[in-house]
């Protein structure tokens, strides 16, 4: 099968999850209760909302990830032809990794990889 398999699989996933949820809706008789809808916090009444400022550490890692992920995408076409191109491919990738590694060391020196 060709590209159509992606459509088939997506529809299958949606049908499966929608079917499962609908079937369970048929069996379940829910009851209303004001305490039932509260967010779970080990039994204590919830204080404040989680939708506010969050630890910046995750953001820094996401930024570094972005650089390396783009690098990974560049590597895919290189990897396919590396064996055919031969020594030139190795030299190129050493230069590429050298520049990348300098950036990585810079981020490391700046403390971006330290958990805060």
């Amino acid at each position: 099968m060709g590209v159509s398999s992606l459509i088939v699989l997506t529809i299958a996933a949606i049908a499966f999850s929608a079917g499962a949820i609908l079937i369970s809706k048929l069996f379940v008789k829910g009851s209303k209760n004001p305490q039932k809808g509260q967010a779970y916090e080990c039994g204590i009444p919830t204080k404040g909302t989680p939708w506010k400022q969050f630890n910046v550490g995750y953001y820094l890692f996401a930024l570094i990830f972005l650089i390396f992920d783009v690098e990974l995408i560049f590597l895919y076409p290189w990897a396919v032809v590396a064996k055919k191109v031969g020594w030139l491919a190795l030299v190129e990738i050493i230069i590429f990794f050298f520049i990348l590694f300098m950036g990585f060391l810079y981020a490391h020196k700046k403390g971006a990889l330290k958990w805060m």
Partner: protein, 358 residues
Amino acid sequence: MWSLSDITNSIQNALNRAFNPTFATLTEMVIVGICVIGLFAVLGLILVIMERKVSAYMQVRLGPNRVGPKGMLQSLADTLKLLLKEGLTPDGADKFLFNLAPVIAMIAAMLLLAPIAFAKNFQIWDINIGVLFISAVSSISVISILMAGWASNNKYSLLGAMRSGAQIVSYELSAGLSVLSVVILVGSLKLSDIVQSQENGWWIFKGHIPMIISFVIFLVAVTAETNRAPFDLAEAESELTAGFHTEYSGMKFALFFLAEYVNVFIVCGVGATLFLGGWMPLHIGNWHGFNHVMDFIPSSIWFFGKTFFLIFVIMWFRWTFPRLRIDQLLNLEWKYLLPISMFNILLVTLMAIMGWHF
């Protein structure tokens, strides 16, 4: 000889003879859809019972042993119970995203089944950029996790989702780099080419030490990517109750659970395809008798055997290593695995150019 591809071919021929082409294609699509859904459900049930049994035997206890023979139907009973539970949506939640998240997790898991070679000539879609497709689609699952955590309006969920997001995106890099080392040696992203290249030996044997290093890195990285112990910070029970799916109940929770287990199956299947030869039987040099006996085992059994072996190894990890802290987890990736796998890529390239591999 009897094989899965014969069955699919005969079904295809029968359909083409009986109906006109358009209708035959449509029927084929419906059959594929039903088969995939069936595979999903069966995999979920098998993996849950396997996880519980393996955990039980590792801790010298019996595990579930009441429902069915030796407790084998326990996960079926659990599914039935989950089916009868009410699917709650908390009052403060973002209702649309909250309900969308499990569906996206399912779609991501289901799409990943497309390029996997289950047996000889038995693939839903032999896409020519298979490896890239897998690494691209597998990162959709992080969106569903972040969505679920954020939409729940619960502090535990948000923390779990953030941790899981940081962890998945970090470990994706070293998983991608270790996958690339196979691509360099094969020179193709197509999964069927990769399997074919291992006809005379699996890459883990043919590729000397660099391939063993990338196999180990791959195994560690996918353990982290699927949020399994020792990297299960996202749902560390003792700190975050259940992480990103704290607020989920009933069938929506079951969908997350199912998607998680199917993801484990898929990453192990990819690992088996790349490093352990997929459906290729074990061949040793010129032991012709031995090779001939191995050829008699159907290719699907080879694939599923290798995959379940890797799943067993990942379950073994869970009961061997203690859970890491978030800073240790990120240190492990950024300060050890990533530089090692970058250096390893250079080694593999050198090996491929010099032709040192067998």
